[in-house]
């Protein structure tokens, strides 16, 4: 059993599509918002996979991991902002 970049990309595609499905399907705004971290998680896994398996020798090898870290932080900020805005809307 081994992991290749193709299998990593399959997992990333599944997470991105699942996140897009949640964002499109859910009726509640805050529930739909939970698809966003899933999309970012899929993108982060794709970046980390490229950094692990396919980084060119000339470039910095960990740019993909850096992107994964930044995407995770942005996902947290997006959820916090969305939950805050939803609370403001519902209190009106």
């Amino acid at each position: 059993m081994s992991v290749t970049l193709v299998s990593v990309m399959f997992v990333a595609a599944g997470l991105i599509a699942l996140g897009a499905f949640i964002a499109a399907w859910k009726r509640q705004l805050t529930a739909a918002l939970t698809g966003l971290p899933l999309v970012f998680a899929g993108a982060g896994i794709a970046f980390a996979g490229v950094a692990r398996f396919s980084t060119a020798a000339s470039g910095p090898p960990l740019v993909g991991q850096e992107m994964a870290v930044l995407l995770v932080i942005v996902a947290l900020a997006a959820v916090a902002l969305g939950v805050g805005l939803a609370g403001r809307e519902s209190s009106r």
Partner: protein, 168 residues
């Protein structure tokens, strides 16, 4: 990559997938928070299997924060007025997106290179983030700061009227 890492990756990916399905179909927000935590554990495990230990730690912390935000007791809901047809079109679009991404992954001609980094890589990552790409890191930090300030300002409730009325 040895078999142990491969098993770890696939188990973590399955955990993230199960968590994502839970997010999609759970009705109560506490369960959605739990599912988001499961997604975080799965994503962190996948990162760790891909020799991105530092990203795994950050993912675990951030997704735990997301899960707590979703599962908090004073959760409020907002219904948005999108029709059923548009929701179904969105679901079909998500399926088409998966098919397109999977096809691109299957047909892609990827360069294969040997990875020389360690399993955690925090020192190299810190050098990259705070020296090589410092401006990008600061930009993302600024965006996150503005988002968190906006969230705090939006979440702040008005004081009840009876506390302010009748005061001199």
């Amino acid at each position: 990559m040895d078999s142990l890492h491969a098993i770890g990756f696939y188990v973590s990916a399955a955990l993230a997938g199960v968590g994502g399905l839970g997010l999609a179909f759970a009705r109560r927000h506490e369960r959605r928070g739990l599912a988001l935590g499961l997604v975080g554990v799965g994503v962190a495990g996948a990162y760790a299997s891909l020799s991105a230990g530092f990203a795994a730690v950050i993912a675990l912390l951030c997704y735990a924060g997301c899960a707590l935000l979703i599962a908090r007791p004073d959760y409020r809901t907002v219904e948005h007025s999108v029709g059923t047809v548009w929701r179904q079109l969105g679901a079909v679009g998500a399926a088409v997106l998966f098919a397109a991404l999977a096809y691109a992954a299957y047909r892609g001609d990827f360069v294969h290179a040997t990875f020389y980094g360690g399993p955690f890589g925090s020192l190299s990552l810190a050098r990259l983030m705070f020296a090589h790409d410092a401006l990008a890191t600061e930009a993302v930090g600024g965006i996150v700061l503005v988002a968190l300030i906006g969230a705090a300002a939006a979440w702040r409730r008005e004081r009840p009227r009876d506390h302010t009325e009748g005061r001199p």
